[in-house]
């Protein structure tokens, strides 16, 4: 009897499912040589992010001037921002990596920001997406370090200035911290996006369930928190980019 009562209540009350908008729904089932290349809302929002990046730069540079207008200044600031990160952290030798880092930053940034559009999907709230990027980056830096320094690259895991008796302790720590890189990189972005959007979803749930005089409180909170989320979206893209540069620099200079 009690179970029927519970189900009756849950049927009448509005359904609270703040994780619902992280649901990936496949749209077209496609496969290519046994590989699942289906499209889904996640994939479509990746494409939308690409389109938004291109639209942004199209608007910024459709009519380039020596003395820039507002949009052009914004586009140039984006370019110089990433350029500054790469040259500050990796140095002039980081020049070949610049296009990749530039693409990475703007892809993540626009995925983060596009996810704030009501009814949209946040690509970067998918751990598998952030893990794909972080594992590719860390795997690449490992391969690049090996390619650049050969077997010397293993010295990277041997901290300098440490007494020999401590080596059996230090080397595993270094290896573990290296292996933690892709995990921390992926989880940081995923967790920030997931937590922020879940919080917004919970607050919007309250806006719907509370009467109009009480709904203003969570509604006001969502307004403020959306602003915070824009900031977080930017910061997380920035951190992801900076750490990528740090890892490339490590592989290049073996610090």
């Amino acid at each position: 009897m009690s179970s029927t009562a519970t189900s009756a209540i849950s049927a009448t009350a509005p359904k609270m499912d703040p994780l619902h908008h992280f649901q990936v729904a496949k749209h077209l089932d496609l496969s290519f040589m046994g590989l699942d290349i289906s499209t889904s809302n996640s994939v479509y929002w990746m494409w939308i992010a690409i389109a938004l990046v291109m639209l942004f730069f199209h608007l910024a540079f459709k009519n380039p001037r020596t003395v820039p207008g507002r949009m052009q200044s914004l586009g140039e600031v984006g370019y110089l921002f990433i350029h500054g990160i790469v040259t500050d952290i990796v140095g002039e030798k980081g020049r070949p990596f610049f296009p990749y880092i530039f693409t990475l930053f703007f892809f993540i940034l626009f995925c983060n920001l596009a996810g704030l559009i009501p009814g949209s999907f946040t690509v970067t709230s998918q751990l598998i997406v952030t893990a794909t990027f972080s594992l590719t980056i860390v795997g690449f830096t490992f391969g690049y370090g090996f390619y650049r320094h050969g077997s010397h690259y293993f010295k990277f895991f041997v901290p300098s200035g440490v007494p020999v008796p401590l080596m059996p302790l230090m080397i595993p720590i270094e290896i573990i911290s290296f292996l933690a890189r892709p995990i921390s990189l992926a989880v940081r972005l995923f967790a920030n996006m997931t937590a922020g959007h879940t919080m917004l979803a919970v607050m919007f749930g309250y806006v719907i369930t509370l009467p109009w005089w009480g709904a203003w409180v969570p509604f006001g909170f969502t307004v403020i928190f959306t602003g915070v989320e824009i900031f977080i979206g930017f910061i997380q893209a920035y951190i992801f980019t900076i750490l990528t540069c740090v890892y490339i620099n490590d592989a290049m200079h073996m610090h």
Binding site: D36, S40, S42, V43, T66, F106, F107, T132
Partner: protein, 188 residues
């Protein structure tokens, strides 16, 4: 391999948490499309966006450096022109001073000359005047002398006509003639 590794942990997590992110069936296509999307965006940005931005920035830096060069050049030219102008001014001033000096000297010379010629003129006029005065004096003296002689003769005639005999008269005439002749010899 990555996907299966995550899928293994994902299945356990998804069972417990109910988070849609850990549903392994949606992993593979997202891995593929993440990489594909990145590559597509990389291609588009490299092909269309980065060259455009770099062109703008390069154009600007070229323009700035060429403008700076041009500004430097014009400044040097201006400085040179200023120096030239200064030179011209100094030369002009010097020339003006020289002209004034020359004019002053010329004027002094003219004044000197004028003074000299005036002096000559004056002394000439003076000597002329003196000569004229002398002539006039002489003429006046001569006239006076004649008049005195005439008066003396008239007076003498009258006196003689009254008192004298013929012999006396002859004697006196003789004396008078002698006297006049003597006098004349004295005057001349």
């Amino acid at each position: 391999m990555i996907a299966t590794a995550y899928a293994a942990t994902g299945e356990q997590a998804a069972a417990g948490s109910g988070m849609p992110q850990f549903e392994p069936s949606v992993f593979q296509h997202q891995i593929f499309w993440s990489i594909a999307s990145f590559v597509i965006l990389l291609y588009l940005l490299r092909k269309h966006v980065l060259p455009a931005i770099e062109k703008v920035l390069d154009t600007r830096s070229n323009k700035i450096s060429s403008d700076l060069d041009a500004a430097l050049k014009s400044r040097q030219e201006a400085e040179k022109a200023s120096v030239d102008t200064q030179k011209v001014l100094v030369a002009a001033r010097r020339q003006a001073e020289q002209t004034v000096e020359e004019a002053r000297l010329e004027a002094a010379r003219y004044r000197e000359m004028a003074k000299e010629s005036l002096g000559q003129e004056l002394s000439k006029k003076k000597s002329l005047a003196l000569a004229e005065i002398e002539t006039a004096k002489r003429a006046a003296l001569a006239e006076l002398h004649e008049t005195v002689v005439d008066i003396a003769i008239l007076a003498t005639e009258k006196l003689i006509a009254k008192n004298m005999t013929k012999a006396d008269t002859n004697k006196m005439v003789q004396e008078a003639i002698t006297a006049v002749q003597e006098h004349k010899g004295q005057v001349h």
